[in-house]
């Protein structure tokens, strides 16, 4: 019996060694360990042995043989599975550059992108965001901003007049500054607000000028606000938006709604100065129009173009291109 067990074991081992695939292994498993398997048959024969000792010896040998064959089976199977998986994986090989175009993400407009980047920088500096109507009354657009009728500075604004109400009473806002007045009327200081939005100028468009474009304006009103605070805020913005290597300066200028007024320029790391926008201390007449006592509070305001930020960032040669709605343009950004 022991010999038979050995023979069956050796035979099974030899066949496993010759197996060429996992299917072979499964056949061998059936033939050796299955219901009619060679070792299984021998197990059935144990009862016919004469002595306890014989039974014990044969039983032990049979268990060892069964365990050894089962281990060998598993090992061979694992070996074949690895090889077969390797073959299968290679069969599945893809060329990852064979890509057919599928509908992709949408593209936010360049102006929106610039707008949101600006908003985010100012939010980081502690500002909130206000909005207002694009069609405005003459009062909000001019009069409340220290530009009464016949004020010479009105000629600096090429205004679109709107046929609404009494003639001359309604305009397309020429700047975002009317929102300043609305904000002042609605809130009590402290006010730290930016006001982005669409504005309109009745001037012929060319590669660098548009009749419809976007501005962002800032307004700070609090107790004890100074011109130095304005310069410092512009400086913080410059570094946060353009980068640490940039600095800013204020140059005296004139706007009816601020005094003292200034232009602000930024200096690139290369040393070039770029004119960016206008700013100044809010004129006492403007504070009064907004219902704020200029003896108690002071403030500053600043503003500049959003479209130009997009133009400069992406080196867009002609600003008019931004408003063609040409998908070939929109998809570039």
């Amino acid at each position: 019996m022991i010999d038979q067990i050995h023979t069956a074991r050796e035979h099974a081992m030899a066949r496993l060694a010759q197996a060429t695939g996992s299917d072979d292994v499964r056949v061998i498993e059936l033939e050796v360990l299955g219901k009619r398997g060679s070792l299984t048959d021998l197990k059935a024969g144990l009862g016919k042995l004469a002595t306890i000792e014989e039974k014990k010896a044969a039983g032990q040998a049979l268990n060892e043989a069964t365990a050894a064959v089962a281990d060998a089976l598993q090992a061979r199977l694992a070996e074949f599975r690895r090889a077969e998986r390797a073959v299968q994986l290679e069969v599945e090989r893809l060329d990852l550059t064979e890509i057919m175009r599928k509908p992709g993400r949408g593209h936010a407009h360049v102006v929106t992108q610039a707008w949101q980047r600006l908003e985010d920088v100012f939010i980081g500096l502690g500002f909130q965001v206000a909005e207002g109507p694009e069609v405005e009354t003459d009062w909000y657009n001019f009069e409340a901003l220290n530009m009464p009728a016949d004020h010479p500075a009105r000629s600096m604004h090429d205004t679109f007049y709107v046929d609404h109400g009494t003639p001359g009473s309604t305009v397309l806002r020429t700047h975002t500054s009317p929102v300043q007045i609305r904000v002042m009327q609605q809130l009590t200081p402290p006010i730290y607000m930016i006001m982005p939005g669409r504005v309109f100028r009745n001037e012929t468009t060319d590669a660098t000028h548009l009749a419809v474009f976007h501005q962002i304006e800032g307004l700070v009103i609090d107790r004890g606000i100074t011109l130095a605070d304005l310069a410092g805020t512009i400086e913080s913005f410059t570094k946060a938006f353009f980068g640490e290597g940039f600095t800013s300066r204020l140059r005296p200028s004139y706007f009816p709604f601020t005094e003292p007024s200034a232009e602000f320029d930024i200096r690139t790391p290369k040393g070039d100065w770029l004119e960016l926008g206008g700013c100044g201390m809010v004129h006492p007449n403007v504070l009064r129009a907004g219902g704020i006592d200029p003896e108690e509070y002071s403030g500053f305001a600043f503003g500049f173009g959003i479209d130009r930020m997009a133009k400069e960032r992406h080196a867009i040669g002609d600003v008019r291109e931004m408003y063609t709605n040409d998908i070939r343009f929109l998809e570039q950004f």
């Binding site: 694009e134 069609v135 010479p152 100074t226």
Partner: protein
């Protein structure tokens, strides 16, 4: 405004403009006092490499019709040949020769260029090519006897001038004259300003040009002075050079002095021929409606009763006050006696007249900003001073007139609080510091306790409030020296909830593959009707382009134009959105402006637009009723619906009417979604609440129904949900079939119901019961469960 360096240097000793360091410094100073220098140019300088040469002979070439060969001698004995396209020179003429290597003012480099195989050793130059005026009719012929081989500038005695082009701000009318700029520069650099000229003593016999101020409110000061011994001749070279550099054409000594005085002292003035002045005097009155005058520029001008006229004493119009003189009393070569007018006009009225007449002159540009009412005296003295240079026999006649009306402005005295100045500028300024800064530009300061009384000089009409003085202090002290501090905001920065929702909306739209368009908000007449929308819209009074004058009431026309544009560039299937304002008419103070969302999907059908709406509604927590029975204007009657919130329409969804697509030259089907964001973004959306996902297995039940076309899928949907109750965790329509095998007027809708219990594994019996309930419920509405 062009400021000439040598001129400025005469008024304040800043240094010679030959030195570039001086020029750079002056430019910086001018900029830092608020008169931005936009450009600094050197004019009248010789172009390097252009030398004088003599024409030896000229020679035609049989094969060259438009050019000839000119043999020139530049004094070095070498004969050079130059091809030339101008024929105005004779042998012996001295001409400017640009030698090879010269870079012309327009950037052109001169190279030896062969024509017909023959070299050209340079180029002969016209006046305009050298930047000496506009004459390009021929080669510049230099005076006979000019030495050869010299830089032509040296040969011509040209002087170089440095010119600062400055941007004069609205609040600085005084800076339209060299004197005003010089005053700021002198204060900033601590230099002395040139003394004012003094009018020489008047001589007898007295001669008077009378002045009758009929409408004195419009002209509160008018002076006249009769000057004899005038000889009309050319001005000195230096004056001509400065006037040219400042952008004015020299004419004769009288006109030139008039212009020179204006550019220097900022006082416009007019010299009349006294002998042609009817009645020997002036009369200042408003024009009669329709009255005409021929101005110096030969144009006949028709006036209104709001225009002010200068007339002679016989009431004949001789000039439009403050704007332009008339032709009839112009100085001529035979003028020997001149009547000099210098006046102050009411600024706003001059602006109105200049605008109405479309006639802005150097004088009107100054008067409309507000001149110095006391600057007349310095202007007149300077006029006499300068005219005497070319008229040795000049006589200032006694009998000058200085007519005034009570409307002549009197400069204010302002109370200035140093504490206030310091608080606004963030740097401490006391009485002495303020006085030191502003007294230098003519503001007289008188201490009043801790404060100051500041007398504004007559040339600064912009200063009317304390805050104006704050600016003067800041300007003269220097903005850069005021430092940079950051105010401490006690508020949290951030977007409002509405603004946050708008950003979320935009992100979802972008994620859905839509790109953002920004069409023009103006529409032309007919475009709203083309889009099938109501024609009523708010109009622009003064559109940029005639006809481009409607304010949009919908985003749809602009987006359809965008689709058409892209189709015409072979880009079909474009999916765009816009978030922008629309401006429907209203009887309120302002139009009924609101923010809208527009989505257009080219080559898509209505259900694609509804799918976008559903995605947005889920993402944004919006709910609205889709009402296909209410077809929005301009939309496909069988493929669109109104979106309503309560009774209010808040949008539309579907496809544009094929007629509309056609009218916009769009070939594809266009699916559209339009929403009123002002309403939708204002509402606080419901925050999604957690639902348990369950751990017991789910089972799917697929049911197909035959449903009459008159019953909306939405209804079947609702019936299934109600019947299935809490066990239904997901319902999706996965197949729609129309065609053979179905009763007429119906279609098949196939749904997959995913069923799951939170408490146990569902049995076959549970599913069967639910199926029966659904079947019963749908049957009631005519939806019959198939097979």
């Amino acid at each position: 405004m062009k400021i000439v360096h040598s001129w400025l240097n005469e008024l304040v000793p800043v240094g010679d403009g030959v030195d570039q360091a001086v020029v750079d410094h002056v430019a910086d100073v001018i900029t830092n006092v608020g008169l931005a220098v936009e450009d600094v140019v050197r004019v009248g300088a010789s172009v390097k490499g252009v030398i004088t040469a003599r024409v030896v002979k000229t020679e035609r070439h049989p094969e060259a019709a438009k050019v000839h060969r000119v043999y020139v001698d530049s004094g070095d004995g070498i004969e050079r040949h130059v091809w030339c396209g101008a024929f105005n020179m004779q042998p012996g003429d001295v001409i400017p020769l640009a030698t090879p290597g010269t870079v012309m003012p327009d950037g052109r480099a001169i190279e030896p260029k062969p024509i017909l195989g023959l070299q050209s050793d340079g180029m002969l130059c016209s006046a305009s090519e050298l930047g000496l005026g506009t004459d390009h009719s021929g080669i510049l012929i230099l005076p006979a006897g000019t030495p050869l081989g010299l830089p032509y500038g040296e040969a011509l005695g040209l002087g170089e001038e440095v010119v600062y082009d400055i941007d004069v701000l609205r609040n600085r009318p005084d800076a339209f004259g060299h004197l005003g700029v010089a005053r700021d520069v002198a204060a900033k650099l601590g230099l002395a300003l040139a003394a004012a000229p003094v009018l020489p003593a008047a001589q007898h016999p007295a001669r008077t040009a009378t002045v009758d101020l009929v409408d004195g409110d419009r002209c509160p000061r008018f002076t006249s002075l009769v000057i004899g011994g005038v000889t009309v001749t050319a001005s000195p070279d230096w004056m001509q050079r400065r006037l040219t550099a400042a952008g004015m054409r020299p004419i004769n000594n009288v006109v030139d002095v008039s212009n020179y005085v204006m550019l220097e002292t900022n006082q416009p003035n007019h010299a009349y021929d006294f002998d042609t002045l009817g009645g020997g005097g002036f009369r200042v009155r408003l024009a009669r409606e329709g009255e005409t005058i021929v101005t110096l520029d030969d144009a006949e001008r028709t006036l209104t009763a709001d225009d002010l006229l200068i007339c002679d004493a016989t009431d004949r119009p001789i000039g439009i006050a403050g704007i332009m003189g008339g032709q009839n009393t112009e100085i001529s070569d035979s003028t020997t006696t001149s009547a000099l007018e210098a006046a102050w006009f009411e600024p706003a009225a001059i602006m109105r007249s200049a605008l109405r007449l479309g006639l802005r002159s150097e004088a009107s540009a100054r008067f409309e900003r507000g001149m110095d009412p006391m600057g007349i005296d310095r202007g007149v003295a300077r006029f006499v001073d300068l005219l005497a240079l070319t008229c040795p026999d000049l006589v200032v006649h006694a009998g000058a007139v200085d007519a005034r009306a009570p409307q002549l402005p009197v400069p204010p005295v302002l109370r200035v609080r140093p504490a206030r100045v310091s608080a606004l500028l963030g740097t401490a300024f006391d009485v002495a510091a303020i006085t030191a800064l502003i007294q230098a530009i003519g503001f007289e300061c008188t201490p009043q306790g801790d404060d100051l009384d500041v007398a504004v000089p007559s040339w600064r009409p912009d200063c009317t409030m304390e805050i104006d003085i704050v600016e003067e202090v800041a300007r003269l002290y220097g903005y850069a020296r005021l430092g940079k501090t950051v105010p401490k905001s006690t508020l949290p920065g951030g977007l409002s909830p509405m603004q946050q929702r708008r950003r979320r909306l935009r992100e979802v739209l972008l994620g859905l593959g839509l790109s953002e368009a920004m069409p023009h908000p103006f529409l032309t007449a007919g475009e709203l009707e083309k889009a099938g929308l109501a024609a009523e819209a708010v109009r622009l009074v003064n559109p940029l382009v005639v006809g481009d004058d409607l304010l949009r009431t919908s985003l749809r026309p602009g987006l359809l134009k965008a689709i058409a544009f892209n189709e015409s560039h072979r880009r079909t299937g474009v999916a765009l959105f816009e978030i922008g304002h629309v401006y429907p008419p209203s009887t309120d103070v302002l139009p009924a402006e609101y923010e809208a969302l527009g989505v257009v999907l080219a080559g898509a059908d209505a259900t694609d637009a509804v799918a976008i709406w559903r995605e947005l509604a889920t993402a944004m927590g919006w709910g609205a009723r889709l009402d296909q029975g209410n077809v929005p204007a301009g939309m496909h009657p069988a493929r669109s619906a109104t979106l309503s919130l309560g009774k209010d329409a808040i949008g539309s969804v579907g496809e544009v009417h094929p007629d509309v697509a056609e009218a916009f030259d769009v070939a594809e089907r266009v699916a559209v979604l339009e929403l009123n964001l002002t309403v939708l973004l204002a509402a606080e959306p419901k925050v999604a609440q957690w639902k348990a996902t369950g751990r017991f297995p789910s089972s799917d039940l697929d049911l197909a129904f035959v449903v009459p076309l008159t019953v909306a899928a939405e209804k079947v949907d609702k019936a299934i949900r109600q019947a299935a109750g809490g066990l239904l965790v997901d319902l999706s329509l996965f197949d729609v079939y129309r065609g053979t095998g179905l009763p007429e007027g119906s279609r098949s809708l196939a749904y997959r119901l995913r069923l799951q219990s939170l408490e146990r594994t569902l049995t076959d019996d549970d599913v069967a019961q639910l199926r029966a309930k659904v079947e019963a419920a749908t049957k009631k509405m005519g939806a019959v469960l198939r097979g």
